[in-house]
């Protein structure tokens, strides 16, 4: 009996020790993420993951294995632009039946990771590539802003009817610092002379998960009120000081935040514009850098992007890592302050078939897609559409041979 149990344990231990080595032969190099470990379970992807150059050749190989002339492009990443991307893809494939596009909703970080390990041909990412990562692949990696998205401040304030609140970065910073506790605080009241605000505690909602929305929101607070909102509180998962007061709660994703706001009277929070539009949430007008109170609209988003475009690289090969800084709280009297680009990340070099497919898609997005944005998104201004065309011609040129 005991001997049998011992045998079971010994065999189990042996299996446990040997199995992972067989499964992930490159286990030692997979220090960063679990998602990569998952993709590495098949030996083929292990080989693909070793370097980005082999990744590209492997991607080419899979493309050439498609005999029927149908090209498959795997895209994936950011969830924020996904509704728009999926709408575009559907339209595009109707017109180009021999190009099959897919877009997986993975999140920006995972999208880039899978793009780098060769699983995806094109990545969608809300934030641009960080400077270090861009520098590492400089010359072989490209980024193009495809859409402008906005984050909106929304609230549940009974008794004010359909009037929209006016809010400034300074007031929002004080609310999220926990220093403004009541709705009828003179600093809020001053911005809203026509509205009688209730004497009630503000319930503050934030994102429970690390998210680009919070990055955008806190960047805005820092830029609009640098003396109140320090740089250390800028990020995807900032430690909002208001959490200490017990008047705050985190929701997971836009739906979680919206749910908290809907079911808590006297609450305030922020969600993506498209989500607020879909769910008919009230949207506050925000004070922009020029001192005007602006609501999100295609015009106010494009105005912000146009004012940021002056500072952006003129080629998709450039370093976009600072573009959030330029577009958030951008100058211009009509610019909505809480905006960001979402990007596609591409290689400069693909197999011939894939290169043509990607170039076709990029051109289609510029010529057709950007004119058909779904509510909640704005097309990039003309000066930035050129970047997509440039990227298309770079890909075609590099993949010619």
């Amino acid at each position: 009996m005991i001997a049998a149990v011992i045998i079971v344990f010994v065999v189990a231990a042996a299996v446990a020790i040997v199995a992972p080595k067989v499964l992930t032969r490159q286990g030692a190099t997979s220090t960063t993420t679990v998602t990569t470990t998952v993709t590495k379970t098949t030996t083929e992807t292990v080989r693909v993951a070793s370097t980005t150059t082999t990744a590209k050749t492997a991607a080419q190989a899979t493309a050439q294995e498609q005999p029927s002339g149908v090209v498959y492009l795997k895209m994936g990443g950011a969830t924020f632009p996904a509704p728009q991307y999926l709408a575009w893809i559907k339209e595009f494939m109707k017109e180009h039946p021999n190009i099959k596009l897919s877009y997986e909703l993975l999140g920006s970080g995972a999208g880039i990771a899978r793009f780098l390990d060769g699983t995806l041909d094109v990545a969608g990412s809300d934030p641009p590539l960080p400077h270090d990562l861009w520098a590492k692949h400089k010359g072989s990696i490209m980024q193009v802003p495809t859409l402008i998205g906005a984050v909106v401040v929304t609230y549940n304030l009974p008794g004010i009817g359909s009037k929209a609140l006016n809010l400034s970065g300074k007031v929002l910073a004080l609310i999220y610092l926990g220093k403004i506790a009541y709705w009828d605080d003179p600093r809020i009241q001053k911005l809203n002379p026509g509205i009688k605000l209730p004497h009630h505690e503000i319930f503050v909602v934030f994102r429970a998960d690390a998210s680009g929305t919070q990055q955008i929101f806190t960047t805005f607070l820092h830029k609009a009120a640098p003396d109140l909102w320090p740089e250390s509180l800028v990020g995807k998962a900032p430690a909002f000081p208001v959490k200490k007061t017990g008047r705050a709660a985190g929701g997971k994703g836009n739906p979680g935040v919206a749910q908290l706001i809907k079911s808590n009277e006297y609450s305030i929070g922020f969600v993506e514009w498209s989500y607020a539009v879909e769910n008919h949430l009230p949207i506050a007008a925000l004070e922009n850098a020029a001192g005007n109170f602006v609501k999100p609209s295609t015009e106010s988003l494009v105005a912000a992007a146009a004012s940021a475009a002056k500072h952006l690289p003129t080629t998709p090969l450039g370093d976009f890592s600072k573009d959030e800084d330029y577009i958030i709280y951008a100058s211009g009297k009509d610019s909505y302050p809480l905006v960001a680009f979402t990007h596609l990340v591409l290689w400069t070099h693909y197999s011939r078939a894939k290169a043509e497919a990607i170039a076709t898609y990029l051109k289609w997005v510029v010529n057709v897609g950007e004119k058909k944005t779904v509510p909640g998104y704005a097309p990039v201004p003309d000066s930035l559409k050129k970047l997509m065309l440039d990227a298309a011609s770079i890909i075609l040129k590099n993949s010619a041979g």
Partner: protein, 310 residues
């Protein structure tokens, strides 16, 4: 059973057939511990004991402290079991002693079905209904009239609190705990009950004696329920508020270990060491479960000695 020299070849084949799945089960467990320790090690190295005793969660520095989540898990599970256990015991006694036979059968099968229901069903219902209800009719009165008790000392601003999460967990584990205690109660030999009745015991006394007999099972059920409560993820993250500060009162928003993992895992790879910190949270949960189970076993052992061998 002897390992060498089976009585027949059939026995040997039988043994080997059983060996494979047993090995698999144990190897999964060994693997789990191996992976957990491998991935959490960098976080423990980087942050040391602060990882467990720290209260900060700031990926930009990075600084990760799991104390608020661990305390939150303990608090919500404790609230859950404090509510669920008495309810489960009452249901058990009611079903067995007072309920008409037909109704008892219907009720107990309903409870069994409920125990097997996916917990997210309760979670969604709870998230819709509980926060407001509990805030207005339970938490506000409690904090007003029993505010001198430290755990009830703060006025709730919203319904999204540790207390709400605890109540939701209680709702989720009551059927499970009840189904265990009902089964234990039913397994008491009929002779014991007959003996009690023969000396003229009233239902009240019968219950008391029977409950004493099944006490180990009740404790076991409570611990299994606690384990369930501690591991519950999505439902809790919907109502707990997800705020990583050390709670000093049950009516504050808080966080639990499993909710923390669920909320942060998808984007964890964008931050240095966050994955490792989350694996460390997994280790903490495992350790918590281990302590609970050992405590439970010790308690049950004591009970058994106390009641003797019936």
């Amino acid at each position: 059973m002897r390992v060498r020299g089976f009585k027949s070849r059939h026995d040997a084949v039988f043994f080997l057939t059983l060996l494979a799945p047993s090995t698999l089960v144990i190897s999964f467990y060994v693997l789990l511990i191996k992976v957990l320790s491998e991935y959490s090690a960098p976080a423990f190295q980087a942050f040391g004991p602060r990882l467990i005793t720290g209260a900060e969660w700031d990926p930009s520095r990075p600084a990760y402290g799991l104390l608020p989540a661990i305390l939150g898990t303990i608090a919500t599970s404790a609230v859950a079991i404090v509510i669920a256990l008495p309810v489960a015991v009452c249901v058990t006694v009611f079903l067995n002693e007072f309920c008409p036979k037909v109704m008892a059968r219907v009720l107990s099968s309903v409870i069994n079905v409920m125990a097997g229901m996916p917990s997210i069903v309760y979670g969604l219902w709870g998230a819709m209904v509980l926060p407001d209800f509990l805030k207005n009719y339970v938490m506000l009165p409690l904090s007003r009239y029993l505010g001198f008790i430290p755990l009830f000392s703060c006025t709730p601003v919203s319904g999204w609190t540790l207390f709400t999460a605890g109540v939701l967990l209680a709702v989720m584990i009551v059927p499970y705990v009840a189904s265990l205690t009902i089964e234990a109660y039913a397994q008491v030999p009929a002779g014991v009950r007959e003996a009690l009745l023969s000396i003229g015991a009233r239902p009240h006394l019968v219950c008391r004696e029977l409950l004493k007999l099944i006490a180990p099972a009740v404790v076991g059920a409570a611990l299994l329920g606690l384990g369930r409560a501690a591991g519950e993820t999505i439902a809790v993250s919907l109502v707990v508020g997800n705020v990583n500060y050390i709670p000093y009162c049950l009516f504050l928003p808080g966080e639990t270990v499993s909710a923390l993992i669920a909320n942060n895992f998808p984007e964890a790879s964008s931050y240095p060491l966050m994955i490792n910190a989350l694996y460390a949270a997994g280790v903490a949960l495992l350790a918590l479960g281990f302590v609970l189970n050992v405590a439970g076993l010790v308690l049950m052992g004591r009970w058994r000695r106390l009641v003797g061998n019936v």
